[in-house]
Assembly symmetry: C2
Homo-oligomer: 383 residues x 2
């Protein structure tokens, strides 16, 4: 089969729109590819490495596409995700999470025999556990130190980072090669819309720390920063070496509200059916909180998203309330005039695509007028 035949076969695979059941999570492949290319180009232009967070898609095939487009490797949060991605051919993985249980450390060390595997550390007790596990495995584990620059999540507090880095650099079975942080669109301990300021500060804090650590003899090679909203600005700071955005691969309503992308860059949407029209201003669709993630709630600052998703084509319709399998869509005057009926389909762009993907057993990759099921292999991998 030559290249053209293969392409034709691929285009013909899958089912058509009218054969689609609901609710299903659609991924517009052309938009996804455009998002992948755009972030790869951004990283190239800024002279930083790109290590996308695979939590967004949990799809090995998409991780490989990101790498093919120029990503150096990928980021994951869990050992189980790393194992999955390695099994599908990803050979450079950063588990950006402090591994502290014996079981997870053993699994990470086992993986490190086959691929480049970097683990996160953020405390001396945690690092000592990793050091002990590496010693027992007869190996050296490459680690990066996580720094908290104001998100109050994992990460050693910024002011304590130097002392901890020195202590970790002294552990015999760990090799400290980098520092990393995640803060997202935050500034001064609060969510912000000033992404330029947030990204610039993020980069500057981390580069400054890296320089102080190098001055103390710790050879910090990687200064890793950047979420989807701040990646462009953090990457522009000289001395930053790597960005780790995740959401950009599909983008979503939250990122569009941040101004990171336009509505037409959102590759993910959920196809639902109207199952009931109990009142003029109310349509019930067959997706609820088991179909749309609820971790990004409506009306929360700074974005003040209205509802749990954007109803494509109906500007004054809002997914205002959900139970597990029901979505309550409030219809404004325009949507009421559109005569939405039982059996009609709607497409809804979720507020947060990462946690929404994790609710679905498969995504439906849209190529032209065909849809093909791709199993979300990393779904529910929590360990």
């Amino acid at each position: 089969m030559n290249r053209n035949d293969s392409h034709a076969a691929k285009a013909a695979a899958g089912i058509r729109w009218k054969e689609m059941e609901t609710p299903r999570l659609l991924i517009d492949e052309a938009r996804m590819d455009r998002n992948i290319a755009a972030m790869a180009e951004l990283a190239r232009a800024r002279g930083v490495r790109l290590r996308p967070h695979a939590k967004t898609h949990k799809l090995p095939s998409v991780a490989l596409r990101q790498i093919e487009a120029g990503a150096k490797g990928i980021t994951v949060a869990k050992v189980s995700e790393a194992e999955l991605m390695a099994a599908h051919g990803v050979s450079d993985i950063f588990i950006a999470y402090p591994l502290v249980t014996e079981g997870k450390l053993a699994r990470a060390l086992e993986l490190a025999r086959r691929i480049r595997l970097i683990a996160g550390v953020d405390s001396l007790p945690g690092a000592e556990r990793a050091d002990r596990a590496a010693s027992e495995a007869g190996r050296t584990l490459e680690v990066r130190l996580e720094i908290d620059i104001g998100f109050r999540r994992t990460g050693v507090p910024y002011a304590e980072a130097e002392a901890l880095a020195v202590a970790i650099a002294g552990l015999p079975h760990l090799r400290l090669t980098g520092i990393y942080t995640f803060r997202g669109a935050q500034l001064n301990g609060r969510p912000t819309l000033d992404l330029a300021a947030a990204g610039a500060e993020e980069g500057a804090l981390m580069v400054g720390l890296a320089e102080r650590l190098r001055a103390r003899g710790i050879p910090i090679a990687d200064v890793s920063v950047g979420s989807t909203p701040t990646a462009a600005y953090a990457a522009a700071v000289p001395g930053v070496t790597e960005i780790r955005p995740g959401t950009y691969v599909f983008q979503d309503r939250m990122q569009a509200a941040f101004g990171v992308c336009g509505p037409d860059d959102c590759a993910g949407s959920v196809l639902v059916t109207v199952v009931s029209r109990p009142a003029a201003d109310l349509a019930i669709v067959d997706g609820g909180s088991k179909t749309f993630a609820t971790d990004v709630q409506p009306d929360v600052p700074p974005l003040h998203l209205r509802g749990f998703g954007r109803i494509v084509g109906y500007d004054d319709a809002r997914l205002v309330r959900m139970s597990e399998e029901h979505g309550m869509v409030e219809l404004g005057p325009d949507a009421q005039a559109a005569d939405i009926r039982v059996g009609d389909r709607l497409r809804i762009v979720p507020n947060h695509i990462c946690s929404t993907v994790n609710l679905h057993n498969q995504v439906w990759m849209q190529r032209g007028d065909r849809f093909e099921a791709v199993p979300v292999l990393g779904r529910g991998l929590l360990e």
Copy 2:
């Protein structure tokens, strides 16, 4: 193998506490069995049939256990869930959801060849679709009419129910045998703590409607009501024939806050590990919004739950914030005094067990000091 040997083999299966990885969802089997028995006894005492909603557990083995304890059949929300349960031997299933797509109706009608299958309807356009599908399949489909008594979800508005029931009863390929509703702990359009009043009104409204329908010649056999919070009160109303509670099988923090159960009746909890202690008043655990459901948010009336779960054994520790894989646990003075360290484990009872189960690939059934993985076969079945 005699009965005692079998019991011993079962007890010895699984792994021990210290071998458990995190995060994992534990189900205390003895508590679950107690909850199953208690609801079965309540239904027997009130003289109503019990048809538990399987959305909570999504486990065929648990559905069979509910039936063994006395349930007449089960309730599900999706055709795909019905197919799964039927494949595992459940022979009486109510899909309490309006089926309106051709594909789902065809699948339901196919199932109806093998088991007793009842579908929900709540509108004339929806019922006409079901009637057409049944006609094409050459069958009659048993249906129940869903009534909205104030939840503003699916369900025909109460005032319009009689006229719609008459119309549906006239459709040749549908057999209207019952009416059903779901309102949960609501009264006058608002969440309420007055479960007795909510359940009594729920029952009275539905029984009154059933009597009016019978007077018009529609032989309503089933008057089906009752959520976990209102089941006991709704079941006490003469004329109610069936209750459909779901959450009771595991109970959860929300139900405990309603006073429906005690904290020691909660069978489900998530085992997590403390991965970081970045500040005296903060512990980070390895479960976030992909481990704990976020559909029941903290601080919402009428329950005003504090945080996303109850930290067992630490009354002033609160799971106040989550990102996808991180849980931020704020420690009060007592929890701080307890010297919680990196690597320590915590057990957290989630606010809402139903949507939490759906996040996990397996639950870990606890029998004595052993834990056995049971795959959540219904997880992510959205169609």
